[in-house]
Protein backbone atom coordinates (compact mmCIF):
# COMPACT_ATOMS: atom_id res chain seq x y z
CA UNK A 1 0.00 0.00 0.00
CA UNK A 2 2.75 2.43 0.99
CA UNK A 3 4.58 2.02 -2.29
CA UNK A 4 1.67 3.41 -4.29
CA UNK A 5 1.31 6.55 -2.18
CA UNK A 6 4.24 8.13 -4.01
CA UNK A 7 2.17 8.15 -7.20
CA UNK A 8 -0.15 11.13 -7.54
CA UNK A 9 -3.09 10.75 -9.89
CA UNK A 10 -5.18 13.71 -11.02
CA UNK A 11 -8.80 12.82 -11.83
CA UNK A 12 -10.58 15.34 -14.06
CA UNK A 13 -14.29 14.96 -14.79
CA UNK A 14 -17.27 17.29 -14.55
CA UNK A 15 -19.40 14.35 -13.36
CA UNK A 16 -18.96 14.74 -9.62
CA UNK A 17 -20.21 11.25 -8.80
CA UNK A 18 -17.80 9.53 -11.18
CA UNK A 19 -14.93 11.83 -10.27
CA UNK A 20 -15.31 11.13 -6.57
CA UNK A 21 -15.85 7.40 -7.13
CA UNK A 22 -12.66 7.08 -9.17
CA UNK A 23 -10.79 9.13 -6.59
CA UNK A 24 -12.10 6.95 -3.76
CA UNK A 25 -11.17 3.76 -5.61
CA UNK A 26 -7.60 4.84 -6.31
CA UNK A 27 -7.13 6.24 -2.80
CA UNK A 28 -8.33 2.94 -1.39
CA UNK A 29 -5.74 1.22 -3.54
CA UNK A 30 -3.09 3.44 -1.96
CA UNK A 31 -2.53 6.18 -4.53
CA UNK A 32 -2.44 9.87 -3.75
CA UNK A 33 -5.33 11.47 -5.66
CA UNK A 34 -6.23 15.02 -6.62
CA UNK A 35 -9.48 15.95 -8.35
CA UNK A 36 -10.75 18.69 -10.63
CA UNK A 37 -14.04 19.37 -12.38
CA UNK A 38 -12.51 21.18 -15.38
CA UNK A 39 -9.45 21.19 -17.59
CA UNK A 40 -8.55 24.74 -16.63
CA UNK A 41 -8.50 23.98 -12.90
CA UNK A 42 -6.71 20.71 -13.59
CA UNK A 43 -3.87 22.48 -15.33
CA UNK A 44 -3.42 24.71 -12.28
CA UNK A 45 -3.06 21.54 -10.20
CA UNK A 46 -0.58 20.13 -12.72
CA UNK A 47 1.58 23.23 -12.34
CA UNK A 48 1.34 23.26 -8.55
CA UNK A 49 1.91 19.56 -7.84
CA UNK A 50 4.04 16.63 -8.95
CA UNK A 51 1.49 14.67 -10.98
CA UNK A 52 2.37 11.18 -12.18
CA UNK A 53 -0.74 10.55 -14.26
CA UNK A 54 -3.86 12.39 -15.38
CA UNK A 55 -7.20 10.66 -15.89
CA UNK A 56 -9.54 13.01 -17.74
CA UNK A 57 -12.88 13.16 -19.43
CA UNK A 58 -12.84 14.81 -22.84
CA UNK A 59 -15.96 16.97 -22.77
CA UNK A 60 -16.16 19.37 -19.86
CA UNK A 61 -17.27 22.93 -19.37
CA UNK A 62 -14.46 25.28 -18.41
CA UNK A 63 -11.62 23.69 -20.33
CA UNK A 64 -12.00 20.36 -22.10
CA UNK A 65 -9.73 17.32 -22.10
CA UNK A 66 -8.10 18.08 -25.45
CA UNK A 67 -7.05 21.55 -24.32
CA UNK A 68 -5.74 20.02 -21.12
CA UNK A 69 -3.73 17.48 -23.13
CA UNK A 70 -2.18 20.29 -25.19
CA UNK A 71 -1.31 22.27 -22.09
CA UNK A 72 0.22 19.27 -20.33
CA UNK A 73 2.27 18.35 -23.38
CA UNK A 74 3.62 21.88 -23.60
CA UNK A 75 4.30 22.08 -19.87
CA UNK A 76 5.62 18.60 -19.16
CA UNK A 77 5.28 15.94 -21.87
CA UNK A 78 6.41 13.30 -19.38
CA UNK A 79 3.04 13.29 -17.61
CA UNK A 80 0.93 10.51 -19.13
CA UNK A 81 -2.81 10.93 -19.60
CA UNK A 82 -5.65 8.45 -19.82
CA UNK A 83 -8.65 9.99 -21.58
CA UNK A 84 -12.34 9.05 -21.46
CA UNK A 85 -14.43 9.40 -24.60
CA UNK A 86 -17.95 8.20 -25.32
CA UNK A 87 -17.36 7.18 -28.90
CA UNK A 88 -20.29 9.25 -30.13
CA UNK A 89 -19.15 12.87 -29.92
CA UNK A 90 -16.72 14.92 -31.97
CA UNK A 91 -13.42 13.98 -30.41
CA UNK A 92 -11.78 10.89 -31.81
CA UNK A 93 -9.48 8.39 -30.19
CA UNK A 94 -6.94 9.28 -32.84
CA UNK A 95 -7.10 12.97 -32.02
CA UNK A 96 -6.60 12.23 -28.31
CA UNK A 97 -3.58 10.04 -29.06
CA UNK A 98 -2.24 12.70 -31.44
CA UNK A 99 -2.49 15.27 -28.65
CA UNK A 100 -0.45 13.06 -26.39
CA UNK A 101 -2.90 10.77 -24.61
CA UNK A 102 -1.27 7.52 -23.54
CA UNK A 103 -4.52 5.55 -23.54
CA UNK A 104 -8.10 6.24 -24.54
CA UNK A 105 -10.98 4.48 -22.80
CA UNK A 106 -14.54 4.48 -24.11
CA UNK A 107 -17.42 5.15 -21.72
CA UNK A 108 -19.14 3.25 -20.27
CA UNK A 109 -16.01 1.50 -19.09
CA UNK A 110 -15.19 -1.31 -16.73
CA UNK A 111 -13.78 -0.22 -13.38
CA UNK A 112 -11.13 -2.93 -13.33
CA UNK A 113 -10.10 -2.02 -16.87
CA UNK A 114 -9.39 1.53 -15.72
CA UNK A 115 -7.29 0.26 -12.80
CA UNK A 116 -5.37 -2.14 -15.07
CA UNK A 117 -4.75 0.63 -17.60
CA UNK A 118 -3.42 3.00 -14.94
CA UNK A 119 -1.11 0.33 -13.49
CA UNK A 120 0.13 -0.44 -17.00
CA UNK A 121 0.80 3.21 -17.88
CA UNK A 122 2.64 3.74 -14.59
CA UNK A 123 4.57 0.48 -15.01
CA UNK A 124 3.29 -0.88 -11.72
CA UNK A 125 3.01 -4.63 -11.42
CA UNK A 126 -0.25 -6.15 -10.20
CA UNK A 127 1.70 -7.78 -7.38
CA UNK A 128 2.86 -4.40 -6.14
CA UNK A 129 -0.65 -3.00 -6.44
CA UNK A 130 -2.13 -5.95 -4.55
CA UNK A 131 0.14 -5.46 -1.53
Amino acid sequence: MQSLKKYTILVVDDDETLRNAIAFDFKRKGFTVLVSESGAKAFELVKANKIDLVISDIRMPGGDGLSLLEQIRAYNPGIPAVIFVTGFADTTEESCLAKGAKKVIAKPFDRKHLMTTVLEVLNISHDTAAQ
Partner: protein, 77 residues
Amino acid sequence: MIETEERKFLHDIASPVGTAIFVLDMVLDSMKNRPNANPDELAQAQQVFDVLGQIKKKIEERRQILIQQGVPSSKTS
Protein backbone atom coordinates in the same frame (compact mmCIF):
# COMPACT_ATOMS: atom_id res chain seq x y z
CA MET B 1 -18.66 16.27 -37.95
CA ILE B 2 -22.39 15.66 -38.22
CA GLU B 3 -23.95 14.92 -34.86
CA THR B 4 -27.05 12.82 -35.36
CA GLU B 5 -29.83 12.60 -32.82
CA GLU B 6 -28.89 8.99 -32.16
CA ARG B 7 -25.24 9.79 -31.56
CA LYS B 8 -26.20 12.62 -29.22
CA PHE B 9 -28.52 10.30 -27.31
CA LEU B 10 -25.88 7.58 -27.04
CA HIS B 11 -23.29 10.14 -25.96
CA ASP B 12 -25.65 11.48 -23.30
CA ILE B 13 -26.38 8.07 -21.80
CA ALA B 14 -22.86 6.61 -22.05
CA SER B 15 -21.51 8.72 -19.20
CA PRO B 16 -24.25 8.13 -16.61
CA VAL B 17 -24.34 4.42 -17.42
CA GLY B 18 -20.57 4.33 -16.93
CA THR B 19 -20.89 6.13 -13.63
CA ALA B 20 -23.60 3.73 -12.42
CA ILE B 21 -21.51 0.69 -13.36
CA PHE B 22 -18.40 2.09 -11.70
CA VAL B 23 -20.11 2.98 -8.44
CA LEU B 24 -22.15 -0.21 -8.23
CA ASP B 25 -19.01 -2.28 -8.86
CA MET B 26 -17.41 -0.58 -5.85
CA VAL B 27 -20.51 -1.18 -3.72
CA LEU B 28 -20.57 -4.85 -4.73
CA ASP B 29 -16.91 -5.29 -3.78
CA SER B 30 -17.62 -3.69 -0.44
CA MET B 31 -20.67 -5.89 0.17
CA LYS B 32 -18.77 -9.06 -0.74
CA ASN B 33 -16.07 -8.22 1.79
CA ARG B 34 -18.53 -7.82 4.67
CA PRO B 35 -18.57 -10.88 6.94
CA ASN B 36 -22.29 -10.39 7.61
CA ALA B 37 -23.29 -9.64 4.01
CA ASN B 38 -26.92 -10.39 3.27
CA PRO B 39 -26.84 -12.92 0.41
CA ASP B 40 -30.22 -11.77 -0.94
CA GLU B 41 -29.14 -8.13 -1.09
CA LEU B 42 -25.87 -9.17 -2.64
CA ALA B 43 -27.68 -11.18 -5.30
CA GLN B 44 -30.04 -8.28 -6.06
CA ALA B 45 -27.17 -5.83 -6.37
CA GLN B 46 -25.40 -8.29 -8.65
CA GLN B 47 -28.53 -8.52 -10.80
CA VAL B 48 -28.63 -4.76 -11.20
CA PHE B 49 -24.94 -4.80 -12.07
CA ASP B 50 -25.53 -7.49 -14.70
CA VAL B 51 -28.39 -5.50 -16.23
CA LEU B 52 -26.18 -2.42 -16.44
CA GLY B 53 -23.59 -4.64 -18.10
CA GLN B 54 -26.18 -5.56 -20.72
CA ILE B 55 -26.85 -1.86 -21.38
CA LYS B 56 -23.11 -1.25 -21.63
CA LYS B 57 -22.83 -4.07 -24.15
CA LYS B 58 -25.70 -2.65 -26.23
CA ILE B 59 -24.00 0.75 -26.31
CA GLU B 60 -20.71 -0.84 -27.37
CA GLU B 61 -22.43 -2.87 -30.08
CA ARG B 62 -24.23 0.19 -31.42
CA ARG B 63 -20.97 2.14 -31.39
CA GLN B 64 -19.33 -0.56 -33.52
CA ILE B 65 -22.23 -0.51 -36.00
CA LEU B 66 -22.06 3.28 -36.29
CA ILE B 67 -18.30 3.08 -36.78
CA GLN B 68 -18.72 0.48 -39.52
CA GLN B 69 -21.30 2.70 -41.17
CA GLY B 70 -18.99 5.66 -40.91
CA VAL B 71 -21.10 7.46 -38.34
CA PRO B 72 -19.02 8.60 -36.59
CA SER B 73 -16.30 8.42 -39.20
CA SER B 74 -13.52 7.71 -36.70
CA LYS B 75 -12.90 4.64 -34.61
CA THR B 76 -13.78 6.34 -31.33
CA SER B 77 -15.14 9.82 -30.94
